[in-house]
Symmetry: C2
Subunit: 311 residues, 2 copies
């Protein structure tokens, strides 16, 4: 086991833009943080894709929806319904633009039923600038920031929740630490008693590995602000609907080219870039890859079923 003993991966369930084609599905990704699942966008067919790749849907704790174009959420109500039919009782959090709530409610109402588990709907109301923390649990912290698309659209940055220091008595620090003092050391703080005795935490502990992070940016024009919000991420997913030769069309439709995605990655100093949200016009994707690689070295293509380790 390396520095990272916990899992932090993302699995691609859909890599295409609006029109499903060429065997590619509308957008959905599953983030696995230590076997806790977080779903990012939920295009039509997401529940089938989860089954296809043997990803247990009941493990999903929270769902994040970037914006209200259908290729990013048309699979949601079907998934909610299936979770219910499969006996879910655990609450589910949904983070999404405000309009989504009425859309879910109307469809649940029309079916004459109700879900047997609570949904905690967290409306992300439009905000001017900066980023807002939307979710925090023992596994992951999620921040949300603005992208620029035809309608309000959010990017998300997922960062591992800060871990405690590991307490290692075998490190051989001076004897005399009391059991109730260990939590102090695990916070990375020194023990200082009222009588002035002190114990250096570094003699007893190992710091946790750095917190890994994943920045998810679709659908959007390339932005300076994205460079800021994705700064230093271990993995950046940046949409690349088009190739450079379609730059004009890309701009008109508020999307990005592979080259522009790579430029954002380079300026943000991320470790790795993943492309996606491909236009249906492309049957092959090698040009996306080579175009991006001409700007930034470590690029991968998102494709259905691919599980990417983030580190």
């Amino acid at each position: 086991m390396g520095a990272y003993s916990t899992k932090f991966t993302v699995t691609i369930l859909g890599s295409n833009s609006a029109l499903p084609a060429n065997g590619r599905h509308p957008t959905a990704q599953l983030l696995n943080v230590n076997n806790h699942y977080y779903l990012i966008d939920c295009g039509e067919g997401t529940q089938m894709q989860l089954r296809r790749y043997n990803l247990k849907m009941q493990r999903i704790k929270a769902i994040f929806i970037s914006h209200m174009h259908g290729d990013h959420y048309f699979g949601l109500v079907g998934l909610l319904n299936s979770l219910h039919l499969l006996g879910r009782k655990a609450p589910l959090s949904i983070y999404a633009p405000p309009q989504l709530k009425a859309i879910i409610d109307l469809q649940l109402d029309a079916s004459g039923g109700r879900l047997q588990y609570p949904i905690h709907f967290h409306s992300i109301a439009p905000f001017e600038s900066g980023s807002i923390a939307v979710h925090l649990d023992k596994q992951v912290k999620v921040e949300c920031f603005n992208l620029k698309h035809r309608i309000t659209c959010y990017g998300f940055r997922f960062t591992e929740t800060e871990k405690e220091y590991s307490y290692l008595p075998e490190k051989g620090g001076p004897a005399g630490i009391m059991v109730e003092e260990i939590p102090v050391l695990k916070q990375g703080a020194d023990v200082v008693r009222t009588d002035g005795t002190s114990f250096d935490h570094k003699m007893y502990t190992l710091p946790p590995p750095p917190q890994r992070s994943y920045a998810y940016c679709t659908d959007t024009l390339p932005l300076d602000s994205t460079v800021e919000f994705a700064k230093g991420a271990d993995l950046l997913y940046h949409e690349s609907t088009f190739l450079d030769k379609e730059q004009q069309r890309s701009k008109e439709t508020y999307h990005s080219t592979a080259k522009e995605a790579a430029d954002v990655a380079k300026r943000a100093g991320v470790k790795r870039l993943m492309l996606g949200h491909y236009s249906a016009r492309y049957t092959q994707l090698y040009e996306h890859l080579s175009e991006a690689k001409s700007i930034f070295p470590d690029v991968i293509l998102s494709e259905e079923g691919l599980e990417v380790e983030i580190n």
Copy 2:
């Protein structure tokens, strides 16, 4: 070419009940009447299934939605959106319970766009009894009748539109028919002139083949009224969510067993029965088939991709 020179088939896009499983999809069927397409229900993933089986989605003229449980319509808005993205201009008719309109509108509104083609939404408001004619064009006549499920649910009967008689001069009727009299003969009527001369249409024409019909019934308890509405159909699709051993569960959830579907088929005197809307609990379906065949001889199982000729 036999008596029927026009196509009248149904292709199964989804054969399962609420929970997609075992490679089976939620309900959708494509009726092909002389290469005019009619979509019956539209569960999640229908547009992908249309692509998979190379069925040109722009040929769809009308969509019929049986009821407001999601496994029968969650694929609709995605399909409408894709038709738009693919450049549709031709109008599309949708026949459905009234609640569906607001659900479509809300989702289109939220996306900030509008479709480039007109949707003619025909609300099927609840009605007491009998059947109502909902659609008629040159290909097909569609009647709607009540089923009995947890919420309002409609069955549909699709009948070929009445064809003209074929005018066959080589049949050798007496000479002297004028060109403008041919349309009279093609209606199956004799020509009778003001001077009393008459020409027997049977000497010049062949009657059209009988009108074929397809009755579609899901989700529902087995009903006496269905026996009436499906009377003499060339093909009856009757849901068979469960097997006989689950009869109690079937009743509680307002569904039918394979045996009950066969009993309806037998009493309605249909030519052939197709089963479907299988519960996710069944990985194999041979028991559905044998159970139904113990009651009614000509039974087939609906399964994804199957195209059934109706005659």
